[in-house]
Amino acid sequence: MSAVAAPVAGTRPVRGRRRTGLGATGWVSAAVVGLATLVAVVGPLVAPHDPNQADLVQAWIGPGGDHLVGLDVQGRDVLSRILAGARSSMLGPLLIVVICMLVGSLLGLVSAWRGGMVDAGVSAGLDILFAFPGVLLAALTAAVFGAGLWAAVLAMAVAYTPFVARLLRGAMLKERNQPYITALEVQGLGATAICLRHVLPNVFPFMVAQGSILFGYAVLDLAVISYLGIGVQPPDPDWGVMISENQSGILLGYPLPALCAGACIVAVVVAMNLLGERLLERAGKDGGR
């Protein structure tokens, strides 16, 4: 037992030099995410034109003059719509991630800590939720509450929560079984204090990393939902809506408006995924004893 443990303990890597950097990819990703966030905050204020001002006569006019990226299917300024659309395209996923992390960490913590019947009950409930695809849930909530950003956010939060709860349950179970947690229990510290002061802070880097990856998925799924017409409603600017509105342009030889929105989505999704993976690597290095 311990004869095996001793050499393992001895071969642990020296922990003096810790790489805290994210690497070049990580920093570029973080910069893209930062830019997107900045645009989401100030976008509508700096948009050169009213994103909803239509002029059908000017539809599909290419870049030039007053309109840097041209005009879309209804003759609206594409750049302004991209800038203004960043808000719903970033805020929606953010809300989804925050809701999922709150509910997921609570469920994961309770199942990991209590185990037994509680764990089995929560897992069974999550399995049932798992059976519903997010887009189907979105259609359902849109039918019940009316189509819009909030219905889509609610649906995606419900759809993602089982996934997050399961991930966090695993991470928290691993933490819960660490001897230092047992030592605190033997000391007589209460479960709530142990969870809040020790388990959650130690799992937090993992949560941030997973949240970042999840954000990428949420951007994509919300865009799909908007594209299908059961998310953000036109004429409100949103990247998913813009692809949907301007897809006819791709066939007509004016692909720029749809491609711009698509490129924004791809950039944010890829950046979030890469950043999440770098953070996950770091969390593993940090938390791994």
Partner: protein, 281 residues
């Protein structure tokens, strides 16, 4: 085992089953206040399960456990009872790497325990006690405010000991606490433990498979094999003149200068006759 007067820890008829597997059966022992007991046995003999039941990590299937005269066979009800039990029995684990919160500096970890058990103390009072405890286990102030990752295995184990002692427990369970350390570090920590016992009069229950450590640290010993106690008595007597076959085998397995593997094999054969290899399927 001779009658123990004034037992600080008393275990009677302890039994633990996991499904159909009987892990511990009919285990009884008592340790006097200020005494020391070793529970010896190979991996899977049930010694760690006994420790877990004493600290309350596992609930016994049957039997009673009493520490300081108070029953602790059933899970604690309420925070006050939990903390009271924490001041009766503490434990130091085997793995020094995972027994400290990686995000918590040493002094904060000890302070947290003091806050728990001494709610009436002021912050300066606790800080003073933290310095005292850190010094008591042979660490300097710089190590006392370091994160666990900056400390070596032996230093971390010293922190774990200090944290356990912060509760001022009557009984300290050492669950293979020096087994993961290098031999020279092991000797230092052993000396610290011997020294602490002399100064504090604390009772040790040592869970170990290392007979040399057992000899240095304890006066009485119980030998566990397949979940039951097969031999008990004064440590010297049991280790010098083992009565039970299993204890003899255990002793013969310890590598010493001039260690004779053939003798170990003979000892094994005496108790476990070699059967001809017959295919079982």
């Amino acid at each position: 085992m001779p009658d123990v007067s004034d037992p600080v820890l008393e275990v009677v008829g302890l039994r633990k089953t996991f499904g159909d597997v009987v892990a511990v059966e009919e285990v009884s022992f008592a340790v006097r206040r200020g005494g020391s007991l070793a529970i010896v046995g190979e991996s899977g003999s049930g010694k760690t399960t006994v420790a877990k039941m004493v600290t309350g990590q596992e609930r016994p299937t049957a039997g009673t456990i009493r520490a300081c005269g108070r029953d602790r066979s059933a899970p604690a009800r309420g925070g006050a009872e939990r903390r009271l039990r924490g001041r009766e029995v503490q434990i130091v684990f085997q793995d020094p790497y995972s027994s400290l919160d990686p995000r918590q500096p040493v002094d904060r970890a000890i302070d947290e325990v003091l806050r728990l058990h001494r709610p009436d103390w002021s912050a300066p009072q606790r800080a003073e006690r933290v310095v005292e405890l850190v010094g008591m286990v042979g660490l300097d102030d710089r190590q006392g405010s370091a994160l666990p990752r900056a400390l070596s295995g032996g230093q971390r184990q010293r922190v774990a000991i200090a944290r356990a002692l912060a509760a001022e427990p009557e009984v300290l369970i050492l669950d293979e606490s020096v087994a993961a350390l290098d031999v020279s570090i092991q000797a230092q920590v052993l000396n610290l433990l011997i020294d602490l016992r002399e100064r504090l009069g604390i009772t040790y229950v040592l869970i170990s498979h290392d007979l040399a450590v057992v000899r240095q640290l304890t006066e009485t010993v119980v030998v566990m094999h397949r979940g039951t106690i097969v031999e008990r008595g004064r440590t010297e007597d049991v280790l010098d003149a083992p009565q039970h076959d299993y204890t003899r085998r255990l002793r013969a397995s310890v590598p010493t200068p001039g260690w004779d593997l053939a003798a170990v094999r003979r000892a094994l054969h005496e108790t476990r006759p070699v059967r001809p290899l017959t295919p079982s399927c």
